[in-house]
Symmetry: C2
Subunit: 317 residues, 2 copies
Protein backbone atom coordinates (compact mmCIF):
# COMPACT_ATOMS: atom_id res chain seq x y z
CA UNK A 1 0.00 0.00 0.00
CA UNK A 2 1.44 3.37 -1.01
CA UNK A 3 1.79 6.32 1.38
CA UNK A 4 -0.89 8.06 -0.67
CA UNK A 5 -3.38 5.20 -0.27
CA UNK A 6 -2.65 5.02 3.45
CA UNK A 7 -3.17 8.76 3.78
CA UNK A 8 -6.47 8.68 1.90
CA UNK A 9 -7.62 5.76 4.06
CA UNK A 10 -6.85 7.83 7.14
CA UNK A 11 -8.91 10.71 5.71
CA UNK A 12 -11.71 8.30 4.91
CA UNK A 13 -11.91 7.44 8.60
CA UNK A 14 -12.87 11.10 9.24
CA UNK A 15 -15.76 11.01 6.80
CA UNK A 16 -19.16 10.65 8.37
CA UNK A 17 -21.53 12.17 5.83
CA UNK A 18 -22.99 10.35 2.83
CA UNK A 19 -22.42 13.57 0.83
CA UNK A 20 -18.72 12.63 0.73
CA UNK A 21 -19.49 9.30 -0.95
CA UNK A 22 -16.70 7.78 1.17
CA UNK A 23 -14.15 9.80 -0.89
CA UNK A 24 -14.54 7.11 -3.55
CA UNK A 25 -16.37 9.12 -6.19
CA UNK A 26 -15.35 11.89 -8.58
CA UNK A 27 -17.25 14.47 -6.56
CA UNK A 28 -19.26 15.09 -3.40
CA UNK A 29 -23.01 15.50 -3.58
CA UNK A 30 -24.51 17.89 -1.04
CA UNK A 31 -28.19 18.73 -0.72
CA UNK A 32 -28.75 22.32 0.47
CA UNK A 33 -32.33 23.56 0.59
CA UNK A 34 -33.84 22.71 -2.77
CA UNK A 35 -30.42 22.53 -4.48
CA UNK A 36 -28.37 19.42 -5.19
CA UNK A 37 -24.76 20.57 -5.29
CA UNK A 38 -21.90 18.65 -6.84
CA UNK A 39 -18.49 19.65 -5.52
CA UNK A 40 -15.01 18.69 -6.64
CA UNK A 41 -11.45 19.85 -5.99
CA UNK A 42 -8.51 18.80 -8.16
CA UNK A 43 -4.93 19.96 -8.05
CA UNK A 44 -2.59 20.29 -11.02
CA UNK A 45 1.08 20.36 -9.97
CA UNK A 46 4.32 21.02 -11.80
CA UNK A 47 6.41 17.89 -12.17
CA UNK A 48 3.34 15.71 -11.56
CA UNK A 49 0.58 16.82 -13.95
CA UNK A 50 2.51 19.22 -16.14
CA UNK A 51 6.11 20.00 -17.02
CA UNK A 52 7.91 23.29 -16.32
CA UNK A 53 8.08 23.98 -20.08
CA UNK A 54 4.37 23.44 -20.79
CA UNK A 55 2.47 26.50 -22.03
CA UNK A 56 0.93 28.21 -18.97
CA UNK A 57 -2.36 28.78 -20.80
CA UNK A 58 -2.69 25.03 -21.34
CA UNK A 59 -2.07 24.41 -17.64
CA UNK A 60 -4.94 26.75 -16.78
CA UNK A 61 -7.21 25.09 -19.34
CA UNK A 62 -6.36 21.65 -18.02
CA UNK A 63 -6.96 22.70 -14.42
CA UNK A 64 -10.46 23.83 -15.34
CA UNK A 65 -11.12 20.89 -17.65
CA UNK A 66 -10.16 18.14 -15.20
CA UNK A 67 -12.46 19.59 -12.57
CA UNK A 68 -15.34 20.09 -14.98
CA UNK A 69 -14.88 16.54 -16.23
CA UNK A 70 -15.69 15.39 -12.69
CA UNK A 71 -18.86 17.50 -12.75
CA UNK A 72 -19.72 16.11 -16.20
CA UNK A 73 -19.45 12.56 -14.88
CA UNK A 74 -22.00 13.41 -12.21
CA UNK A 75 -24.40 15.04 -14.68
CA UNK A 76 -23.92 18.47 -13.11
CA UNK A 77 -24.12 21.89 -14.66
CA UNK A 78 -21.15 24.05 -13.57
CA UNK A 79 -22.01 27.07 -11.42
CA UNK A 80 -18.65 28.48 -10.44
CA UNK A 81 -15.09 27.90 -9.31
CA UNK A 82 -12.62 28.96 -6.65
CA UNK A 83 -8.92 29.10 -7.60
CA UNK A 84 -5.95 28.37 -5.35
CA UNK A 85 -2.93 29.90 -7.08
CA UNK A 86 0.73 29.65 -6.19
CA UNK A 87 2.44 32.68 -7.60
CA UNK A 88 6.05 32.42 -8.72
CA UNK A 89 8.01 35.52 -9.67
CA UNK A 90 7.46 35.22 -13.42
CA UNK A 91 4.94 37.80 -14.58
CA UNK A 92 4.84 36.51 -18.13
CA UNK A 93 4.00 32.99 -16.98
CA UNK A 94 1.24 34.29 -14.72
CA UNK A 95 -0.25 36.47 -17.48
CA UNK A 96 -0.32 33.55 -19.90
CA UNK A 97 -2.00 31.41 -17.24
CA UNK A 98 -4.69 34.05 -16.71
CA UNK A 99 -5.28 34.24 -20.47
CA UNK A 100 -5.73 30.45 -20.62
CA UNK A 101 -8.02 30.64 -17.60
CA UNK A 102 -10.11 33.29 -19.37
CA UNK A 103 -10.46 31.05 -22.44
CA UNK A 104 -11.49 28.08 -20.30
CA UNK A 105 -13.99 30.06 -18.21
CA UNK A 106 -15.54 31.51 -21.37
CA UNK A 107 -15.43 28.20 -23.21
CA UNK A 108 -17.23 26.29 -20.47
CA UNK A 109 -19.50 29.08 -19.21
CA UNK A 110 -17.88 28.87 -15.77
CA UNK A 111 -17.82 31.77 -13.31
CA UNK A 112 -14.73 32.56 -11.26
CA UNK A 113 -16.05 33.19 -7.74
CA UNK A 114 -12.97 33.60 -5.58
CA UNK A 115 -9.99 31.79 -4.13
CA UNK A 116 -6.60 32.49 -2.67
CA UNK A 117 -3.18 33.43 -3.99
CA UNK A 118 0.06 32.66 -2.20
CA UNK A 119 3.58 33.69 -3.09
CA UNK A 120 5.78 30.64 -3.51
CA UNK A 121 9.18 30.34 -1.93
CA UNK A 122 11.89 30.50 -4.61
CA UNK A 123 12.33 27.22 -6.48
CA UNK A 124 9.13 25.59 -5.20
CA UNK A 125 7.14 23.80 -7.90
CA UNK A 126 3.89 25.47 -8.93
CA UNK A 127 0.64 23.86 -7.86
CA UNK A 128 -2.85 25.04 -8.60
CA UNK A 129 -6.07 23.89 -7.03
CA UNK A 130 -9.53 24.46 -8.37
CA UNK A 131 -12.81 23.85 -6.61
CA UNK A 132 -15.69 23.49 -9.04
CA UNK A 133 -19.27 23.79 -7.83
CA UNK A 134 -22.06 22.38 -9.95
CA UNK A 135 -25.75 21.72 -9.66
CA UNK A 136 -27.55 18.55 -10.67
CA UNK A 137 -31.19 18.72 -11.68
CA UNK A 138 -31.81 15.00 -11.20
CA UNK A 139 -30.11 11.85 -9.95
CA UNK A 140 -26.33 11.99 -9.51
CA UNK A 141 -24.78 8.74 -10.75
CA UNK A 142 -22.04 7.27 -8.60
CA UNK A 143 -19.13 5.05 -9.60
CA UNK A 144 -20.60 2.19 -7.67
CA UNK A 145 -23.95 1.51 -9.30
CA UNK A 146 -23.01 -0.91 -12.11
CA UNK A 147 -25.00 -4.16 -11.99
CA UNK A 148 -24.37 -7.58 -13.52
CA UNK A 149 -25.82 -7.57 -17.03
CA UNK A 150 -25.37 -3.82 -17.54
CA UNK A 151 -23.86 -2.62 -20.78
CA UNK A 152 -20.62 -0.64 -20.51
CA UNK A 153 -20.34 2.43 -22.71
CA UNK A 154 -17.85 5.16 -23.43
CA UNK A 155 -18.32 8.56 -25.07
CA UNK A 156 -16.26 9.92 -27.97
CA UNK A 157 -12.99 8.26 -28.88
CA UNK A 158 -10.30 6.82 -26.66
CA UNK A 159 -6.53 7.18 -26.78
CA UNK A 160 -6.28 10.44 -28.70
CA UNK A 161 -4.74 12.42 -25.86
CA UNK A 162 -2.14 9.72 -25.18
CA UNK A 163 -1.19 9.66 -28.85
CA UNK A 164 -1.19 13.46 -28.88
CA UNK A 165 1.35 13.54 -26.06
CA UNK A 166 3.58 11.17 -28.03
CA UNK A 167 3.22 13.38 -31.12
CA UNK A 168 4.02 16.49 -29.08
CA UNK A 169 7.15 14.79 -27.78
CA UNK A 170 8.24 13.84 -31.29
CA UNK A 171 7.88 10.13 -30.54
CA UNK A 172 5.05 9.58 -33.04
CA UNK A 173 3.93 11.04 -36.35
CA UNK A 174 0.34 12.14 -36.19
CA UNK A 175 -2.22 14.85 -36.76
CA UNK A 176 -2.35 18.12 -34.87
CA UNK A 177 -5.87 17.17 -33.75
CA UNK A 178 -4.32 14.55 -31.46
CA UNK A 179 -2.12 17.15 -29.77
CA UNK A 180 -5.20 19.32 -29.36
CA UNK A 181 -6.99 16.47 -27.56
CA UNK A 182 -4.03 16.29 -25.15
CA UNK A 183 -3.55 20.03 -24.69
CA UNK A 184 -7.12 21.22 -24.53
CA UNK A 185 -9.40 18.45 -23.27
CA UNK A 186 -13.13 19.17 -23.49
CA UNK A 187 -15.13 17.77 -20.60
CA UNK A 188 -18.39 16.19 -21.74
CA UNK A 189 -20.69 18.44 -19.75
CA UNK A 190 -23.78 18.26 -21.98
CA UNK A 191 -23.42 14.53 -22.46
CA UNK A 192 -23.13 13.99 -18.72
CA UNK A 193 -26.33 15.92 -18.07
CA UNK A 194 -28.18 13.97 -20.78
CA UNK A 195 -26.87 10.61 -19.56
CA UNK A 196 -27.28 11.02 -15.79
CA UNK A 197 -30.92 9.81 -15.73
CA UNK A 198 -30.13 6.84 -18.01
CA UNK A 199 -27.07 5.25 -16.41
CA UNK A 200 -26.46 2.99 -13.41
CA UNK A 201 -22.90 4.29 -12.86
CA UNK A 202 -20.77 6.97 -14.47
CA UNK A 203 -17.23 8.39 -14.12
CA UNK A 204 -14.78 10.20 -16.30
CA UNK A 205 -11.87 8.47 -18.02
CA UNK A 206 -8.86 10.39 -16.81
CA UNK A 207 -6.18 7.81 -16.07
CA UNK A 208 -6.91 5.25 -18.78
CA UNK A 209 -10.00 3.33 -19.82
CA UNK A 210 -8.86 0.04 -18.27
CA UNK A 211 -7.79 1.39 -14.91
CA UNK A 212 -10.85 3.59 -14.58
CA UNK A 213 -13.14 0.72 -15.52
CA UNK A 214 -11.37 -1.51 -12.99
CA UNK A 215 -12.16 1.16 -10.36
CA UNK A 216 -15.81 1.32 -11.38
CA UNK A 217 -16.11 -2.47 -11.31
CA UNK A 218 -14.46 -2.67 -7.88
CA UNK A 219 -16.64 0.11 -6.45
CA UNK A 220 -19.74 -1.60 -7.88
CA UNK A 221 -18.82 -5.11 -6.75
CA UNK A 222 -19.04 -6.53 -10.27
CA UNK A 223 -16.68 -7.94 -12.88
CA UNK A 224 -16.30 -6.29 -16.27
CA UNK A 225 -15.31 -7.43 -19.72
CA UNK A 226 -14.09 -5.03 -22.41
CA UNK A 227 -14.29 -6.04 -26.07
CA UNK A 228 -11.14 -4.36 -27.35
CA UNK A 229 -12.36 -4.43 -30.96
CA UNK A 230 -15.29 -2.18 -29.99
CA UNK A 231 -13.22 0.50 -28.25
CA UNK A 232 -13.86 3.64 -30.35
CA UNK A 233 -10.76 5.04 -32.07
CA UNK A 234 -10.58 8.26 -34.07
CA UNK A 235 -9.41 8.32 -37.67
CA UNK A 236 -6.46 10.42 -36.56
CA UNK A 237 -5.57 7.80 -33.95
CA UNK A 238 -5.79 4.96 -36.47
CA UNK A 239 -3.68 6.93 -38.97
CA UNK A 240 -0.99 7.42 -36.30
CA UNK A 241 -1.03 4.10 -34.45
CA UNK A 242 -3.17 1.67 -36.48
CA UNK A 243 -6.05 -0.32 -35.08
CA UNK A 244 -4.48 -3.67 -34.31
CA UNK A 245 -4.58 -5.15 -30.84
CA UNK A 246 -1.44 -3.39 -29.63
CA UNK A 247 -2.78 -0.01 -30.76
CA UNK A 248 -6.10 -0.70 -29.03
CA UNK A 249 -4.38 -1.66 -25.79
CA UNK A 250 -2.27 1.51 -26.01
CA UNK A 251 -5.46 3.55 -26.42
CA UNK A 252 -7.22 1.82 -23.52
CA UNK A 253 -4.30 2.39 -21.14
CA UNK A 254 -3.47 5.99 -22.06
CA UNK A 255 -4.62 8.82 -19.81
CA UNK A 256 -6.20 12.22 -20.26
CA UNK A 257 -9.16 11.16 -22.39
CA UNK A 258 -11.75 13.01 -20.26
CA UNK A 259 -14.49 10.98 -21.90
CA UNK A 260 -17.41 9.50 -19.96
CA UNK A 261 -17.46 5.84 -18.96
CA UNK A 262 -20.86 4.57 -17.93
CA UNK A 263 -22.89 1.46 -17.28
CA UNK A 264 -26.57 1.11 -18.06
CA UNK A 265 -29.33 -1.43 -18.10
CA UNK A 266 -29.64 -2.88 -21.64
CA UNK A 267 -33.19 -1.50 -21.77
CA UNK A 268 -31.68 2.02 -21.79
CA UNK A 269 -29.76 1.44 -25.03
CA UNK A 270 -32.34 3.12 -27.32
CA UNK A 271 -32.49 6.22 -25.09
CA UNK A 272 -28.68 6.36 -24.90
CA UNK A 273 -28.35 6.14 -28.69
CA UNK A 274 -31.03 8.80 -29.09
CA UNK A 275 -29.05 11.08 -26.74
CA UNK A 276 -25.94 10.39 -28.79
CA UNK A 277 -27.75 11.49 -31.96
CA UNK A 278 -29.12 14.59 -30.27
CA UNK A 279 -25.66 15.60 -29.02
CA UNK A 280 -23.75 14.63 -32.16
CA UNK A 281 -21.35 12.66 -29.95
CA UNK A 282 -20.85 8.92 -30.36
CA UNK A 283 -21.54 6.63 -27.38
CA UNK A 284 -20.05 3.18 -27.97
CA UNK A 285 -20.86 -0.09 -26.25
CA UNK A 286 -17.53 -1.57 -25.25
CA UNK A 287 -18.49 -4.48 -23.01
CA UNK A 288 -20.64 -5.47 -20.09
CA UNK A 289 -20.65 -6.10 -16.35
CA UNK A 290 -21.20 -9.53 -14.83
CA UNK A 291 -21.21 -11.30 -11.47
CA UNK A 292 -17.78 -11.57 -9.90
CA UNK A 293 -14.79 -9.28 -9.70
CA UNK A 294 -11.94 -8.04 -11.82
CA UNK A 295 -11.47 -7.07 -15.43
CA UNK A 296 -11.30 -9.21 -18.56
CA UNK A 297 -10.37 -8.30 -22.10
CA UNK A 298 -11.47 -9.88 -25.36
CA UNK A 299 -10.56 -9.14 -28.97
CA UNK A 300 -12.79 -10.42 -31.78
CA UNK A 301 -14.26 -12.98 -29.43
CA UNK A 302 -10.96 -14.31 -28.07
CA UNK A 303 -9.66 -13.78 -24.53
CA UNK A 304 -6.67 -11.41 -24.24
CA UNK A 305 -4.36 -11.18 -21.20
CA UNK A 306 -4.55 -7.92 -19.28
CA UNK A 307 -1.59 -5.60 -19.80
CA UNK A 308 0.57 -5.16 -16.69
CA UNK A 309 -0.11 -1.42 -16.66
CA UNK A 310 -3.79 -0.47 -16.86
CA UNK A 311 -3.23 3.31 -16.89
CA UNK A 312 -1.80 6.13 -14.83
CA UNK A 313 -1.92 5.86 -11.08
CA UNK A 314 -0.71 9.25 -9.91
CA UNK A 315 -4.25 10.52 -9.43
CA UNK A 316 -5.88 9.78 -6.16
CA UNK A 317 -9.42 11.08 -6.32
CA UNK B 1 2.27 47.44 -7.01
CA UNK B 2 3.39 43.93 -6.06
CA UNK B 3 3.31 40.97 -8.44
CA UNK B 4 0.59 39.54 -6.24
CA UNK B 5 -1.63 42.64 -6.51
CA UNK B 6 -1.08 42.75 -10.28
CA UNK B 7 -2.01 39.08 -10.56
CA UNK B 8 -5.17 39.51 -8.50
CA UNK B 9 -6.13 42.53 -10.60
CA UNK B 10 -5.74 40.39 -13.71
CA UNK B 11 -8.00 37.75 -12.16
CA UNK B 12 -10.51 40.44 -11.22
CA UNK B 13 -10.82 41.31 -14.90
CA UNK B 14 -12.17 37.77 -15.46
CA UNK B 15 -14.88 38.15 -12.88
CA UNK B 16 -18.33 38.87 -14.26
CA UNK B 17 -20.69 37.61 -11.58
CA UNK B 18 -21.78 39.55 -8.50
CA UNK B 19 -21.44 36.28 -6.53
CA UNK B 20 -17.66 36.84 -6.66
CA UNK B 21 -17.99 40.25 -4.94
CA UNK B 22 -15.17 41.47 -7.23
CA UNK B 23 -12.76 39.19 -5.29
CA UNK B 24 -12.72 41.89 -2.62
CA UNK B 25 -14.60 40.08 0.12
CA UNK B 26 -13.75 37.21 2.46
CA UNK B 27 -16.00 34.83 0.55
CA UNK B 28 -18.23 34.43 -2.47
CA UNK B 29 -22.00 34.40 -2.10
CA UNK B 30 -23.87 32.19 -4.53
CA UNK B 31 -27.64 31.74 -4.65
CA UNK B 32 -28.61 28.23 -5.79
CA UNK B 33 -32.28 27.38 -5.72
CA UNK B 34 -33.52 28.37 -2.29
CA UNK B 35 -30.03 28.20 -0.77
CA UNK B 36 -27.64 31.07 -0.20
CA UNK B 37 -24.17 29.55 -0.27
CA UNK B 38 -21.04 31.17 1.12
CA UNK B 39 -17.82 29.81 -0.39
CA UNK B 40 -14.21 30.41 0.53
CA UNK B 41 -10.83 28.88 -0.31
CA UNK B 42 -7.68 29.63 1.68
CA UNK B 43 -4.25 28.09 1.38
CA UNK B 44 -1.80 27.52 4.21
CA UNK B 45 1.77 27.08 2.96
CA UNK B 46 5.03 26.07 4.62
CA UNK B 47 7.46 28.97 4.84
CA UNK B 48 4.61 31.46 4.40
CA UNK B 49 1.88 30.64 6.94
CA UNK B 50 3.67 28.04 9.03
CA UNK B 51 7.21 26.89 9.70
CA UNK B 52 8.62 23.43 8.93
CA UNK B 53 8.92 22.72 12.67
CA UNK B 54 5.33 23.65 13.58
CA UNK B 55 3.20 20.81 14.95
CA UNK B 56 1.32 19.28 11.99
CA UNK B 57 -1.92 19.05 13.99
CA UNK B 58 -1.83 22.81 14.55
CA UNK B 59 -1.33 23.36 10.82
CA UNK B 60 -4.48 21.33 10.13
CA UNK B 61 -6.43 23.20 12.80
CA UNK B 62 -5.30 26.55 11.43
CA UNK B 63 -6.21 25.57 7.86
CA UNK B 64 -9.75 24.80 8.99
CA UNK B 65 -9.98 27.81 11.32
CA UNK B 66 -8.86 30.45 8.79
CA UNK B 67 -11.45 29.24 6.30
CA UNK B 68 -14.23 29.04 8.89
CA UNK B 69 -13.34 32.52 10.09
CA UNK B 70 -14.22 33.76 6.59
CA UNK B 71 -17.58 31.99 6.84
CA UNK B 72 -18.10 33.46 10.33
CA UNK B 73 -17.52 36.95 8.97
CA UNK B 74 -20.30 36.38 6.45
CA UNK B 75 -22.72 35.00 9.05
CA UNK B 76 -22.69 31.55 7.47
CA UNK B 77 -23.16 28.15 9.05
CA UNK B 78 -20.47 25.70 7.81
CA UNK B 79 -21.76 22.79 5.73
CA UNK B 80 -18.62 21.04 4.55
CA UNK B 81 -15.09 21.24 3.23
CA UNK B 82 -12.89 19.94 0.44
CA UNK B 83 -9.19 19.43 1.20
CA UNK B 84 -6.30 19.83 -1.23
CA UNK B 85 -3.36 18.00 0.34
CA UNK B 86 0.26 17.88 -0.76
CA UNK B 87 1.73 14.68 0.56
CA UNK B 88 5.40 14.58 1.48
CA UNK B 89 7.08 11.28 2.34
CA UNK B 90 6.76 11.62 6.10
CA UNK B 91 4.06 9.33 7.40
CA UNK B 92 4.29 10.61 10.96
CA UNK B 93 3.76 14.19 9.84
CA UNK B 94 0.76 13.20 7.76
CA UNK B 95 -0.79 11.18 10.60
CA UNK B 96 -0.42 14.07 13.00
CA UNK B 97 -2.01 16.37 10.43
CA UNK B 98 -4.98 14.03 10.06
CA UNK B 99 -5.39 13.91 13.84
CA UNK B 100 -5.44 17.72 14.00
CA UNK B 101 -7.89 17.77 11.12
CA UNK B 102 -10.13 15.36 13.02
CA UNK B 103 -10.10 17.61 16.09
CA UNK B 104 -10.93 20.67 14.01
CA UNK B 105 -13.74 18.96 12.07
CA UNK B 106 -15.24 17.68 15.31
CA UNK B 107 -14.69 20.97 17.12
CA UNK B 108 -16.45 23.05 14.49
CA UNK B 109 -19.06 20.50 13.35
CA UNK B 110 -17.61 20.56 9.84
CA UNK B 111 -17.97 17.67 7.38
CA UNK B 112 -15.10 16.57 5.18
CA UNK B 113 -16.66 16.10 1.74
CA UNK B 114 -13.77 15.35 -0.58
CA UNK B 115 -10.71 16.85 -2.22
CA UNK B 116 -7.50 15.81 -3.87
CA UNK B 117 -4.13 14.53 -2.73
CA UNK B 118 -0.94 14.96 -4.71
CA UNK B 119 2.50 13.58 -4.02
CA UNK B 120 5.02 16.37 -3.72
CA UNK B 121 8.36 16.31 -5.50
CA UNK B 122 11.18 15.88 -2.94
CA UNK B 123 12.05 19.08 -1.11
CA UNK B 124 8.99 21.03 -2.22
CA UNK B 125 7.32 23.01 0.56
CA UNK B 126 3.99 21.70 1.79
CA UNK B 127 0.87 23.64 0.89
CA UNK B 128 -2.69 22.82 1.83
CA UNK B 129 -5.85 24.31 0.43
CA UNK B 130 -9.27 24.09 1.97
CA UNK B 131 -12.55 25.05 0.40
CA UNK B 132 -15.26 25.69 2.98
CA UNK B 133 -18.91 25.77 1.98
CA UNK B 134 -21.41 27.45 4.23
CA UNK B 135 -25.02 28.50 4.14
CA UNK B 136 -26.43 31.84 5.22
CA UNK B 137 -30.00 32.04 6.44
CA UNK B 138 -30.28 35.80 5.98
CA UNK B 139 -28.33 38.76 4.64
CA UNK B 140 -24.62 38.25 4.00
CA UNK B 141 -22.67 41.31 5.12
CA UNK B 142 -19.90 42.51 2.84
CA UNK B 143 -16.74 44.44 3.67
CA UNK B 144 -18.03 47.43 1.79
CA UNK B 145 -21.20 48.46 3.60
CA UNK B 146 -19.86 50.73 6.36
CA UNK B 147 -21.51 54.18 6.34
CA UNK B 148 -20.46 57.52 7.84
CA UNK B 149 -21.71 57.64 11.41
CA UNK B 150 -21.62 53.86 11.91
CA UNK B 151 -20.07 52.51 15.05
CA UNK B 152 -17.05 50.21 14.62
CA UNK B 153 -16.96 47.10 16.79
CA UNK B 154 -14.73 44.14 17.40
CA UNK B 155 -15.46 40.80 19.07
CA UNK B 156 -13.40 39.22 21.85
CA UNK B 157 -9.93 40.54 22.58
CA UNK B 158 -7.23 41.73 20.21
CA UNK B 159 -3.51 40.96 20.12
CA UNK B 160 -3.50 37.68 22.06
CA UNK B 161 -2.31 35.56 19.13
CA UNK B 162 0.49 37.98 18.28
CA UNK B 163 1.64 37.94 21.90
CA UNK B 164 1.26 34.14 21.94
CA UNK B 165 3.62 33.82 18.99
CA UNK B 166 6.19 35.95 20.83
CA UNK B 167 5.77 33.78 23.94
CA UNK B 168 6.14 30.61 21.87
CA UNK B 169 9.36 31.99 20.38
CA UNK B 170 10.71 32.81 23.83
CA UNK B 171 10.69 36.56 23.09
CA UNK B 172 8.09 37.37 25.73
CA UNK B 173 7.02 36.04 29.12
CA UNK B 174 3.31 35.29 29.13
CA UNK B 175 0.52 32.89 29.87
CA UNK B 176 -0.05 29.64 28.00
CA UNK B 177 -3.51 30.94 27.07
CA UNK B 178 -1.81 33.41 24.72
CA UNK B 179 0.00 30.59 22.91
CA UNK B 180 -3.30 28.76 22.66
CA UNK B 181 -4.89 31.76 20.96
CA UNK B 182 -2.07 31.65 18.39
CA UNK B 183 -1.99 27.87 17.93
CA UNK B 184 -5.68 27.06 17.96
CA UNK B 185 -7.72 30.04 16.80
CA UNK B 186 -11.49 29.71 17.25
CA UNK B 187 -13.49 31.31 14.47
CA UNK B 188 -16.50 33.24 15.77
CA UNK B 189 -19.12 31.23 13.93
CA UNK B 190 -22.05 31.72 16.32
CA UNK B 191 -21.29 35.39 16.77
CA UNK B 192 -21.14 35.90 13.01
CA UNK B 193 -24.56 34.33 12.56
CA UNK B 194 -26.04 36.45 15.35
CA UNK B 195 -24.46 39.67 14.05
CA UNK B 196 -25.12 39.31 10.31
CA UNK B 197 -28.61 40.87 10.45
CA UNK B 198 -27.40 43.75 12.67
CA UNK B 199 -24.28 45.03 10.90
CA UNK B 200 -23.61 47.22 7.87
CA UNK B 201 -20.24 45.56 7.11
CA UNK B 202 -18.31 42.65 8.63
CA UNK B 203 -14.97 40.90 8.07
CA UNK B 204 -12.58 38.84 10.13
CA UNK B 205 -9.44 40.25 11.69
CA UNK B 206 -6.69 38.04 10.32
CA UNK B 207 -3.81 40.33 9.41
CA UNK B 208 -4.14 42.93 12.15
CA UNK B 209 -6.95 45.17 13.36
CA UNK B 210 -5.57 48.33 11.76
CA UNK B 211 -4.83 46.88 8.33
CA UNK B 212 -8.11 45.01 8.19
CA UNK B 213 -10.05 48.10 9.24
CA UNK B 214 -8.19 50.13 6.60
CA UNK B 215 -9.40 47.57 4.03
CA UNK B 216 -12.99 47.79 5.25
CA UNK B 217 -12.89 51.60 5.18
CA UNK B 218 -11.44 51.64 1.67
CA UNK B 219 -13.97 49.09 0.37
CA UNK B 220 -16.79 51.10 1.97
CA UNK B 221 -15.57 54.50 0.78
CA UNK B 222 -15.45 55.92 4.29
CA UNK B 223 -12.83 57.07 6.76
CA UNK B 224 -12.43 55.40 10.13
CA UNK B 225 -11.15 56.41 13.51
CA UNK B 226 -10.02 53.94 16.14
CA UNK B 227 -9.91 54.92 19.80
CA UNK B 228 -6.87 52.92 20.92
CA UNK B 229 -7.89 53.10 24.59
CA UNK B 230 -11.09 51.16 23.77
CA UNK B 231 -9.39 48.28 21.93
CA UNK B 232 -10.23 45.24 24.08
CA UNK B 233 -7.21 43.52 25.64
CA UNK B 234 -7.25 40.30 27.63
CA UNK B 235 -5.91 40.09 31.16
CA UNK B 236 -3.24 37.72 29.88
CA UNK B 237 -2.22 40.25 27.24
CA UNK B 238 -2.04 43.08 29.74
CA UNK B 239 0.01 40.91 32.12
CA UNK B 240 2.50 40.16 29.34
CA UNK B 241 2.67 43.47 27.47
CA UNK B 242 0.90 46.09 29.59
CA UNK B 243 -1.85 48.37 28.36
CA UNK B 244 0.02 51.54 27.51
CA UNK B 245 -0.11 53.02 24.04
CA UNK B 246 2.78 50.95 22.69
CA UNK B 247 1.14 47.72 23.87
CA UNK B 248 -2.17 48.77 22.34
CA UNK B 249 -0.54 49.54 19.00
CA UNK B 250 1.25 46.18 19.11
CA UNK B 251 -2.11 44.45 19.69
CA UNK B 252 -3.84 46.36 16.89
CA UNK B 253 -1.13 45.52 14.35
CA UNK B 254 -0.60 41.83 15.26
CA UNK B 255 -2.14 39.14 13.07
CA UNK B 256 -4.07 35.92 13.63
CA UNK B 257 -6.77 37.29 15.91
CA UNK B 258 -9.65 35.73 13.94
CA UNK B 259 -12.06 38.03 15.70
CA UNK B 260 -14.92 39.79 13.92
CA UNK B 261 -14.66 43.44 12.92
CA UNK B 262 -17.97 45.06 12.07
CA UNK B 263 -19.70 48.36 11.53
CA UNK B 264 -23.29 49.09 12.50
CA UNK B 265 -25.76 51.90 12.68
CA UNK B 266 -25.73 53.37 16.24
CA UNK B 267 -29.39 52.34 16.57
CA UNK B 268 -28.24 48.69 16.51
CA UNK B 269 -26.10 49.08 19.65
CA UNK B 270 -28.70 47.66 22.07
CA UNK B 271 -29.29 44.59 19.87
CA UNK B 272 -25.53 44.07 19.47
CA UNK B 273 -24.98 44.24 23.22
CA UNK B 274 -27.88 41.86 23.79
CA UNK B 275 -26.28 39.40 21.35
CA UNK B 276 -23.00 39.76 23.23
CA UNK B 277 -24.75 38.87 26.49
CA UNK B 278 -26.51 35.90 24.91
CA UNK B 279 -23.25 34.56 23.45
CA UNK B 280 -21.08 35.32 26.47
CA UNK B 281 -18.61 37.03 24.13
CA UNK B 282 -17.71 40.70 24.50
CA UNK B 283 -18.33 43.05 21.56
CA UNK B 284 -16.46 46.34 22.05
CA UNK B 285 -17.04 49.69 20.37
CA UNK B 286 -13.62 50.83 19.18
CA UNK B 287 -14.42 53.81 16.98
CA UNK B 288 -16.61 55.03 14.18
CA UNK B 289 -16.76 55.67 10.46
CA UNK B 290 -17.05 59.13 8.98
CA UNK B 291 -17.06 60.90 5.59
CA UNK B 292 -13.69 60.81 3.84
CA UNK B 293 -11.00 58.24 3.48
CA UNK B 294 -8.15 56.72 5.46
CA UNK B 295 -7.60 55.69 9.03
CA UNK B 296 -7.05 57.80 12.15
CA UNK B 297 -6.01 56.77 15.64
CA UNK B 298 -6.77 58.46 18.93
CA UNK B 299 -5.75 57.61 22.49
CA UNK B 300 -7.66 59.12 25.41
CA UNK B 301 -8.99 61.80 23.14
CA UNK B 302 -5.64 62.81 21.59
CA UNK B 303 -4.62 62.14 17.99
CA UNK B 304 -1.91 59.48 17.56
CA UNK B 305 0.19 59.03 14.39
CA UNK B 306 -0.42 55.82 12.47
CA UNK B 307 2.31 53.20 12.85
CA UNK B 308 4.23 52.53 9.62
CA UNK B 309 3.19 48.88 9.66
CA UNK B 310 -0.57 48.31 10.06
CA UNK B 311 -0.40 44.49 10.05
CA UNK B 312 0.63 41.55 7.93
CA UNK B 313 0.34 41.83 4.20
CA UNK B 314 1.14 38.34 2.95
CA UNK B 315 -2.51 37.41 2.67
CA UNK B 316 -4.21 38.33 -0.53
CA UNK B 317 -7.84 37.45 -0.14
Amino acid sequence: MSGESRFIDSLRALVTDPAARELLDDAAVLEVGSARLVLTHDIVAEGVHFLPGDPPGDVAWKLVAVNLSDLAAKGARPLGALLGYSLAADGEWNSAFVEGLRLALDGFGLKLLGGDTICLPEGAPRAFGLTAIGEASGPVPSRSGAKPGDHLWVSGTIGDAGAGLAVARGELHGAASLIERYRLPRPRLEAGQALAPLVSAMMDVSDGLLIDLARMAEASGVAAVIELDTVPLSEAYIAARGEEREARIAAATAGDDYELLFSADPAQAPAILAASDALGLPFSRIGHAFEGQGLRLTDRGGEVPLPTRLGYQHRSS
